[in-house]
């Protein structure tokens, strides 16, 4: 379990992480979602004792990361794919890490096989593709068979097959009872992987809820109905237990699906001019939630971009 409490990090006047508190529970995948520059990596670095918090604390399994006698056996982390010396082979990189925490050397070959890098174990990592570097990073995270796994943007640079592999792996690690904490700026990826969601924007927590609640709250779907017999249809659907909101000349119906609405209306011999299922995507919900807190936003200048093409 990871407990973050009142965590703050300032760089000069700039507040990167602003008094955030949340817990990452055992046995599930917690997604840490936010736009670039929201403070995700800074928070993760503080969790690993690499950066010193300005205020507050973060503990892993009840103590500061720095106080762990063998941190790699307690917390496995993928920080940046390129936290490697390009001239060292993948196996040597894992070997020194294993030695530093008294992890048996046999484990090195195990994790290389687990991430599918056994064939290139002796190759210098400078020659690795982004995806291979990412796989090696995950091998590093799993080296100590840790109960807590922290992955910062693990799917960056992976191909679709690799992305699915990470997703399955994360779910499997959580199912084994481990604490899995994954950061991403991609809502769509988190929706498929995470059980719980912590959304951060400009250093502040914007949402901390289960994935299910997040979907229910932010990606509500409804049936849009238009009928010449507006009032009658509204009463009929209300009578059937649906939640009906009139919007202009349409009705937004929730609590019934499109086919049920159609059948109810048809049974009464009423006319429908429109029956549409409207669903806002999670991506939209995330964008809306974080739009106020995006650090670097590109102004839409599609006309010019088009002209350049």
């Amino acid at each position: 379990m990871i407990s973050v409490s009142g965590l703050t990090k300032k760089y000069g006047d700039k507040v990167a992480v602003d008094d955030i508190s949340f817990t990452v529970a055992t046995g599930r995948v917690t997604g840490f979602l936010g736009p670039n520059g929201a403070g995700k990596s800074t928070t993760m670095r503080m969790a690993l004792g690499l950066d010193r918090p300005t205020a507050g604390s973060v503990t892993v399994n009840g103590r500061r990361y720095q106080d762990s006698p063998a941190p790699l056996r307690e917390v496995g982390a993928l920080l940046e794919a390129k936290a490697l010396h390009p001239g060292r082979s993948a196996r040597d990189h894992l070997r020194w890490l294993a030695a530093s925490n008294r992890i048996p050397t046999s484990r090195v070959d195990e994790v290389l096989e687990l991430v599918g890098l056994e064939a290139v174990a002796g190759t210098r990592v400078g020659k690795f593709s982004l995806g291979m570097g990412q796989r090696l990073g995950i091998a590093v995270a799993l080296l100590g068979d840790p109960p807590v796994v922290v992955l910062d943007e693990p799917v960056n640079g992976l191909d679709p097959e690799g992305i699915r592999w990470v997703r399955t792996l994360a779910r499997q690690l959580a199912a084994e009872g481990r604490t899995v904490f994954i950061s991403s700026h991609l809502m769509s990826e988190m929706a498929l992987t995470a059980d719980h969601l912590v959304v951060i924007g400009r250093g502040k927590i914007l949402a901390d809820c289960s994935m299910r609640d997040f979907i229910a709250d932010h990606a509500a779907s409804y049936v849009q109905v238009r009928s010449p017999q507006h009032a009658q249809v509204a009463d009929l659907l209300r009578g059937a237990g649906a939640d009906v909101t009139p919007v202009d000349d349409t009705l937004h119906v929730s609590g019934l699906d499109a086919s049920a609405v159609g059948e109810l209306v048809g049974d009464k011999g009423l006319y429908l001019h429109e029956l549409t299922l409207v669903r806002s995507s999670l991506e939209d919900a995330f964008m809306t939630l974080t739009s106020a807190s995006v650090e670097y936003s590109a102004r839409a200048r599609t006309d010019q971009a088009g002209a350049l093409r």
């Binding site: 046995g27 670095r45 690499l50 920080l79 936290a83 008294r102 498929l192």
Partner: protein, 276 residues
């Protein structure tokens, strides 16, 4: 879209793999040793150290033996048997600086500190691996250079015996000096965190500033010249120094060692405080 169900929780003891004792300093040391020898720059630098140190000594002895044996000679052959070590210094500086700047340059420092969060032991392990290697390789290089160079001197009848005053001290001193210089560069690397910057500063200080200081006037100029790291520490590597006005070998080395320790302490304090 599938909403995944909350997975069942298996109780894993978070400390189950942690043995009763911390992976101690020996583990950190072993990790640094593996790191040090698993990149090519280490092999290249140590080979260069040997080639420059022993090779150039042999070369200068071969070239100067005739002159040294003649009546015109105004230098002692004793000054020549460790001559190449002056150039071997460069490789020690490179190795020392890379020991930390390579980690900052690549971001590896984060992996290092995530594996071993206590920074004191990390620095101590790095220092030991570096200094240990340089003492052994440096001393071996000095002996090889002496044996090769002396072969040419012997042919002219001006051979230098190990029992001659200062010879053994110069040979072991060469290893010690290279180790100190490596640590000096490592400390500068720790402060600057940039390979090119650290190399420029140390090489300029030892080779350029150290030599230009001889031009400084007056008593204070003499003292500055004497205590500059390259000048103070370098005397111990020569059986008979080329320059007469420097500190005596062990006094000089003590001054140099104090300078290295001071810089390492500053480097350590900064390392301890700074975000990785």
């Amino acid at each position: 879209m599938t909403v995944t169900t909350e997975s069942r929780t298996v109780e894993l003891d978070p400390h189950r793999f942690v043995p009763g004792t911390r992976p101690g300093f020996s583990s950190t040391l072993r990790a640094e040793w593996i790191k040090f020898w698993s990149v090519r720059s280490t092999t290249w630098s140590t080979v260069m150290l040997f080639v420059l140190g022993a090779g150039l000594t042999a070369l200068i002895c071969a070239a100067s033996a005739g002159w040294l044996a003649s009546a015109d000679a105004d230098e002692s052959p004793l000054s020549f048997v460790t001559w190449g070590m002056m150039f071997a210094q460069i490789t020690a500086v490179v190795l020392g600086a890379l020991m930390v700047t390579a980690e900052y340059g690549t971001g590896m420092i984060r992996a290092t500190l995530a594996a071993t969060p206590r920074r004191g032991p990390v620095l101590a392990a790095k220092g030991l691996v570096l200094a240990g290697t340089l003492v052994v390789v440096g001393t071996a290089t000095a002996f090889a250079g002496y044996l090769a160079g002396n072969w040419f001197l012997d042919r002219e009848g001006i051979g230098v015996a190990l029992s001659d005053e200062g010879v053994v001290r110069a040979l072991f001193g060469s290893g010690l000096y290279l180790a100190g210089l490596g640590l000096f560069a490592m400390a500068v690397g720790l402060l600057l965190r940039h390979t090119a910057a650290a190399l420029s500063v140390v090489l300029a200080l030892v080779f350029v500033v150290g030599n230009m200081a001889f031009l400084l006037p007056g008593t204070w100029g003499d003292w500055v010249t004497k205590v500059l790291p390259g000048n103070a520490g370098g005397v111990v590597t020569q059986a008979v120094p080329f320059e007469g006005q420097l500190l005596s070998p062990w006094t000089g080395f003590a001054v140099f060692a104090a300078e290295v320790l001071t810089l390492l302490t500053i480097g350590y304090l900064v390392f301890q405080r700074r975000d990785a």
